[in-house]
């Protein structure tokens, strides 16, 4: 079996994303609600979406180029949304703790 750099990096990314999904779900059960709990559902949904996207990575070479470009653009978009939510959440928690 020929494992190239692309396959190795993709496999690492998928494993890390599964670990991230596990952490997100584990934390979700510990946070019933509040400022963090409200946003955590959205973060969980985004991590689930990324996990599915990462799992599809090995099949990207079978997709038409237009479709591939659309998927990459969507991943960038949802990635940006994820970062915004995370940064705002951290900001809210820090502000709350500093009061």
């Amino acid at each position: 079996m020929n494992i190239d750099v692309f396959t190795f990096i993709t496999a690492c990314a998928i494993l890390i994303m599964f670990y991230c999904l596990w952490l997100t779900l584990k934390l979700k059960s510990s946070i019933p609600g509040g400022l963090v709990g409200k946003k955590w559902g959205m973060l969980t949904a985004l991590v689930s979406l990324f996990t599915l996207g990462y799992l599809a990575t090995p099949f990207f070479n079978q997709l038409p180029e237009d479709m591939l470009r659309l998927i990459v653009a969507l991943i960038f978009l949802f990635g940006a949304i994820y970062v915004v939510i995370t940064v705002k959440l951290i900001h809210t928690v820090i502000t709350e703790l500093m009061e």
């Binding site: 946070i31 019933p32 509040g34 400022l35 709350e96």
Partner: protein, 182 residues
């Protein structure tokens, strides 16, 4: 439910405990057993933290005529009614009264956490409430220590449990702490 309400059993309530033919549901019977006319709702919650449906049971018992609200205990009366009037009580009496009031406020803060958080069904919220109660129980009975601990409880509630509930806890806790400060 107001944690200061003091319930006592009516004749019907006493009969319900002694009459083996009166089959009250288990949740009502266990609530009726702990109602003794000397502990308010907050104390009942603290005494029986595992009774998740205590508020509902007390309301049902009251509406069915098994228990009735009694007069409040003296330690829960407003400050003007419990503290010394000028010249009426000496320094030692005033200090004793102040200490009793402080203890009462700390106890009522714990009761408030038990009622608002400890009675929730979610085990995570229950665990959080138990930790808050442990932390407050270990504190000295003074305004600064209790105030800092209370703010922490409010923040934890706001960040991880419920914002509206946190606001309720903040408001009611501050009402109690103001009495302690004065």
């Amino acid at each position: 439910m107001n944690i200061d309400i003091l319930y006592s059993r009516t004749d019907k309530g006493h009969s319900a405990l002694t009459d083996k033919y009166m089959n009250l549901p288990h949740s009502l019977k266990r609530a009726l057993i702990i109602v003794d006319g000397s502990r308010d709702v907050g104390e009942l919650h603290t005494m029986a933290p595992l009774y998740d449906d205590l508020d509902e049971a007390l309301q049902t018992l009251e509406s069915e005529g098994f228990i009735e609200p009694s007069a409040r205990k003296s330690r829960h009366q407003p400050k003007s009614a419990t503290t010394n009037k000028p010249g009426a009580v000496g320094k030692t009496g005033s200090e004793a009264s102040h200490t009793d009031r402080n203890k009462s406020i700390k106890w009522r803060l714990i009761s408030l956490i038990q009622v608002e958080l400890g009675s929730k069904l979610d085990p995570k919220i229950k665990a959080t409430a138990e930790k808050m109660i442990r932390d407050i129980s270990a504190l000295a009975e003074d305004y600064d220590a209790l105030s800092v601990a209370w703010k922490k409880c409010v923040k934890v509630t706001k960040i991880t449990i419920d914002e509206e509930l946190a606001e309720t806890i903040r408001r009611r806790g501050e009402e109690l702490l103001v009495q302690l400060k004065n």
